[in-house]
Symmetry: C2
Subunit: 763 residues, 2 copies
């Protein structure tokens, strides 16, 4: 008798056939097991006194319970919440060994030898010990440079896979509509077009070009795009609160990044915590199945956010029916929930069909086959060159530094000047990093103070105050330093640095905030002012008369209008990552050009919200006590030189604009193409970004920016909310910011005459 | 040959037959004329030197142009915008004479003798000279007393008709969701149920029980309910800006008052300025025809807001197509627009059907027949007793005064105490009145100072400062007065008083704000703080140590959290109308009980918005720098006594609760019934108000509050957004405020078991 290996073991067979074969062999319990991702990865192992890893009883119990393991979250995660640090966690040198150990056990526990997915946080680099930290997404948004970001994303994916991780959880889809929200730092900005281009870059960079039958290369990682959908518009900027959005607002603003990510081939999306107009995303079949799978044709995986399935028990009455609701809606893989552990019971009780279960299991299995896990469950390549990672992170930081205001032309600072480097952000790398970040090895990174000192400048330093609180005791020292110098660099802002004394919710969001944490998941603010002492420090330092450059390091827009009034110059670097100080110093000294452009409109105060450039074109709004306009416009960012933009020309399916460097330095401008709809069946926005192109120009140099102009740029959401339409007339404007576009010379276009049918349907 | 009078002249014929007959005789031009309401009424007449009225060339031109006149706006209006005052306008004595003069001319100008509708502003009383000013809607909301409001509305309608006016423009449908909005004062509050009950009362009071064939009594006025829909939720509280709301939010929060008003028989609604999720209300056929007429069965008139049709030219390209779009959508009668003057051309060019035009004309004519204008075009009864009007206005004011905080038990003030009456609102009746108000005759009304003086109390007065600005020069005098007294009453707040130096937009909204105007149409604020000097005055007066009662007179919630901290007591009276000072003084002295309850949640700052009690039940929101909860809860209001609420009991289709006065004074409590949905197909709100009942109880007295509990209370918007459903389980809680309801003992109810079908379908 010949023993034939089952079809699913045949690496040469088509993935779909392997999935079907494997599925047909599985018990209901094994199937349900594949949809669970219940453990915190750091509970699966511990370090023995002799420095090796060993598995825990918790892992044994879990693989026993699920007859294997569907997925494991955060095996490599290290941060204040998980409590993992260099003493107990795995680093670049031994991450793959740990992953191997766990995977071996999982495969052995599974009757059919099904490996687990190792799912890791990669919001801005792999959030693990020795992972290269990148600037946060808001800083990436400020670069307007998808190509650079794609390379950085590729590096992060390679690090992840080298450590034995498989799947990257990446922030991408949340649109920054309210800076009170502590997760604003995870957004690419307020604009759907910019976010869509960066989401595409992220997917391409991490996943690469898929191989035959959708296989991933060994240094590429399937992504889970977070979050689907509308989470950037929860009311009051309150995390996980409701979004009251209508379907058109959702389609126009909150869905384009997801649509672009799906088109680019994203392997998975994560259903968001929030509800939209009464329907929680994790239980929303219209969203997860009707729109995502049926209309968009998405064939990947839908993962729930942490404990989001269990939250549905609030309306279903118990976790079993909550799990059934989520599965029926379209969630395939749960995260930490009890609800999905009862799927066997839910099917048996008829709360959800076994077919729905099978479809979800098939999607999980398909991803495992695409990753080649059945052939090489424990493969891991070499850790990529850390120097390359550092270079990419620094390049992103450099491209993100945005010069908002430079009235007194104190910048760039002469190399010979005595510089007072002041403020609570001047010398603390930890505050440059953003949320989720793993503990850094001592000496990693460069603060602004470090970097300026290394240039040989005559530098004096005083911290002045803390990020939070009203302790003014350090201010006199800062005043003295400023008074003794030719210029002051005052580094202010916020921080998402979690410390061991932070308390966390079960999903890792911060619950009580101590220390200097003012931003990050769970850290929403009612006010956008900095800590009281920071404002006092700003007042005191500028009052010395020493020209003061204020640098904001932050995960959201803070409202510091007095910086614009009193400082000689104002920059924002967002959270620029470990080497952000280097990037900032280079810009301050003119060794790098200030290349960043705002990915968000900066409001005057929290009372002015919402503030975006792409609001509806109503001329009747406004406030009598203050301007309703942004303090700084979306797209804004000064250079050390100046540029002149010619009028736009239509040329076939492109728009061309001549751009000239009219100053005396080399410089980079980001030409931005905006659409202004004139005749339209629905009320239009004032402007809509539909293209951008960076140009590096020498003094006096003129080049032509060329933008594609097709149905993708011109289409709008139809009245049926299901199809894209190309009606009416539009104006095309090209300018250096949204505000400048309002007064830029337009070129008009009758869309209906030029485009008879959409090249593609964005809905 | 016998000449037979045409059918439409036959008062005994059915209205519909008369309409059809008249319509069949009209030219296209005459039809289009009926849909126009282009003139400002005050341009139709002037006073001659000998004190009589004469008609203007402008009116002659208008009736010539339209071969008659459909409707005339504001013939009796008098205010800073119209420039009409006692010198030139019509008062109680001669309003009917003016109306007669104009109507005679209109009828004579019309080949078929069609009279005009005289349409007047009645947002809180008839806004004409000698009209009785009532407290603004926000104060009416604070009374929780539909019966009292119905009587006051009836009085206002009688005044209007006695002056020759016909149709009352009334604020009712806007729900106060953002206090930055300057029209918050025109809302009944944040809650759809409370607004629905007050809208019903308004319709019943003004229109009365219709006679045969829908006729109105001679002292009753058909209402135009303003505004339909969603205007209370424009982003940023910015007037006429976009509402991003989804359909469920619209149905649950913004439509119930309109639904109730339509059910109560409202003759007309006004389409709102704003758009909802991309569709401007004035051009929104789904809203005005699909929902309002087809699903709700509304057979009345739809009027556009002022110049709202012309605004549609922004997307249609010109006023002709804007008019066609609005007519097709369901607008019958325009206000001031150019767009509707071209309807003849629009029909001829095929932009809109003549049938649509005919239907709109029929609705205008029908209202004229229902008013009996063809029989008595100029009828006007006697002006109702002003004393009755004053009594009703004062009663509403008294019922609206709301005691928010009374820590030091300084209230009620002993009659023997020396009282310092301070603040910019202490002695200015004009600031008590609210927007739209006509000039008052000297001596009308009572300020807080007037009223306290009349009690014989030993009163000292100092204004202290102005409502706006930072002038602190008057504060020392206020300090001295406070220091010399046993108690201080500090009256602070805002004002919607328009002065001749205010500049206005073409629709009467304030454009530039001078003087002390901080509220009203067009007066939106980014901040909710009072003027800087008012805060300084509060600090200075409370610092004297004299127990200080702060009274806020305001058209929106201002954020004055320090009043809660430093003042002995805090009250809000909203804009209580001319005799508000009397009502406030009565409450301060304990001659009236503080009966008001908050119709809105009071936020801690503009940065906390939105703040409502009926947000979605998400436990994950909140701010790390401050509580996300309201400073004072919806429904809150203290009494001078205390009450105990027993547990709720289900009894058939009612809920019963025993309420006991546990204090030592007579008092009024408003028992509030809240629903908390437990098992539900959509994400629920934390609480939903579904009943309220005021109880006057003697010390020690116990009575049972009985609330109906039927499908109307229990139904929710179905997943299809088109039908009402009765699913799941709910908890019923009865308490003195929304916040107290959160911890009140609930009684549970499985809705499906008790109610098998809706008694009615609210959608």
């Amino acid at each position: 008798m010949t023993v034939t290996a089952p079809l699913y073991r045949d690496a040469a067979a088509p993935v779909d056939a392997r999935v079907r074969d494997l599925l047909s062999r599985m018990t209901l319990r094994e199937k349900a097991g594949q949809l669970n991702q219940r453990m915190y990865g750091w509970d699966a192992y511990r370090r023995t006194p002799d420095g090796r890893f060993e598995l825990t009883d918790a892992l044994y119990a879990e693989t026993e319970r699920f007859a294997g393991l569907g997925a494991l979250y955060g095996l490599l995660r290290a941060d204040a919440w998980s409590g993992v640090d260099h003493a107990g966690g795995s680093g670049a040198a031994d991450g793959a060994e740990l992953a191997h150990l766990v995977q071996r056990h999982v495969v052995d526990s599974s009757r059919l030898g099904i490996p687990a997915l190792f799912v890791e946080e990669v919001p801005h680099g792999h959030m693990a010990l020795d992972g290269t930290v990148l600037p946060v997404n808001l800083a990436v948004g400020a670069t307007w440079d998808p190509g650079l970001y794609e390379r950085a994303a590729a590096h992060a994916a390679a690090e992840l896979r080298a450590r034995g991780g498989h799947v990257a959880l990446v922030s991408a889809l949340d649109i920054a509509r309210d800076p009170r929200w502590g997760r604003t730092e995870e957004c690419f900005g307020e604009d759907p077009y910019l976010a869509a281009r960066l989401t595409e870059a992220l997917v391409r960079g991490m996943q690469g070009e898929p191989g035959p039958d959708g296989t991933f290369a060994a240094d590429k990682a399937p992504v889970v795009l977070k979050h689907f959908a509308g989470q950037g518009a929860t009311v009051g900027g309150r995390n996980s609160a409701e979004s009251e959005l209508g379907p058109r607002e959702l389609h126009e603003i909150h869905l384009p990044a997801a649509r672009a990510g799906v088109r680019a081939g994203a392997a998975a999306v994560m259903a968001a915590y929030n509800e939209v107009d009464g329907m929680p995303c994790s239980g929303n079949r219209a969203l997860l199945t009707g729109l995502l799978r049926e209309r968009w044709g998405f064939d990947g995986l839908v993962m729930a956010d942490g404990l989001a399935v269990d939250r549905l028990a609030r309306v279903t009455g118990d976790p079993v029916s909550a799990g059934a609701l989520a599965l029926h809606a379209g969630v395939d893989l749960s995260l930490w929930d009890e609800g999905f552990t009862h799927l066997e019971e839910a099917v048996e009780r008829g709360l959800v069909s076994e077919q729905a279960l099978d479809e979800a299991v098939a999607r999980v299995l398909r991803l495992k086959f695409r990753l080649g896990l059945f052939e090489q469950p424990c493969s891991a390549g070499p850790f990529p060159d850390p120097a390359a990672g550092r270079a990419l992170s620094t390049a992103l930081a450099r491209a993100a530094v945005t010069l908002l205001h430079n009235d007194q032309r104190v910048l760039p600072l002469p190399g010979t000047s005595r510089i007072a480097v002041l403020g609570p952000h001047a010398d603390t790398v930890a505050h440059q990093l953003g949320d989720y970040t793993a503990p850094q090895r001592p000496g990693t990174g460069t603060s602004v103070l470090d970097a300026l000192r290394r240039t040989g400048a005559d530098v004096r330093h005083a911290r002045g105050c803390a990020l939070t609180g009203d302790d003014l005791s350090g201010i006199p020292e800062a005043i003295a330093a400023a008074a003794a110098c030719d210029a002051a660099v005052l580094v202010l802002g916020g921080s998402s640095a979690r410390t061991p004394d932070t308390e966390f919710d079960a999903n890792g969001a911060a619950r009580t905030v101590v220390s200097e944490m003012t931003c990050g998941e769970g850290v929403d603010l009612a006010g956008l002012r900095l800590g009281g002492a920071q404002h006092a420090l700003l007042d005191a330092v500028t009052a010395t008369g020493t020209p003061t450059v204020v640098v904001l390091v932050q995960g959201r827009s803070h409202a510091v209008p007095e910086a614009a009034e009193r400082a000689a110059a104002l920059l924002t670097a967002w959270y620029p990552g470990p080497w952000g100080g280097e990037a900032i110093a280079e810009v301050l000294l003119g060794r790098a050009e200030p290349a960043g452009r705002l990915p968000v409109s900066v409001p005057r105060s929290a009372g002015h919200l919402p503030v975006h450039y792409n609001h509806k074109d109503t001329e009747y709004g406004g406030y009598v006590d203050d301007s309703a306009e942004a303090l700084y416009s979306f797209g804004h960012g000064l250079s050390y030189t100046t540029f002149a933009y010619g009028p736009p020309r239509l040329s076939g399916r492109t728009v061309e604009v001549d751009v000239t460097n009219t100053g005396e330095r080399q410089g980079r401008t980001v030409a931005q193409l905006y659409l202004r709809r004139i005749i339209t069946p629905v009320w239009p926005r004032t402007l809509e970004l539909r293209g951008f192109q960076a140009l590096d120009l020498a003094p006096g140099e003129c080049r032509t920016a060329v933008f594609p102009l097709g149905a993708e740029q011109l289409a709008q959401v139809g009245a049926d909310l299901e199809t894209a339409v190309l009606p009416g007339t539009v104006e095309i404007r090209v300018a250096e910011s949204a505000r400048r576009a309002l007064t830029a010379v337009p070129v008009g276009l009758r869309v209906g005459q030029s485009f008879t049918a959409p090249d593609e349907t964005p809905l």
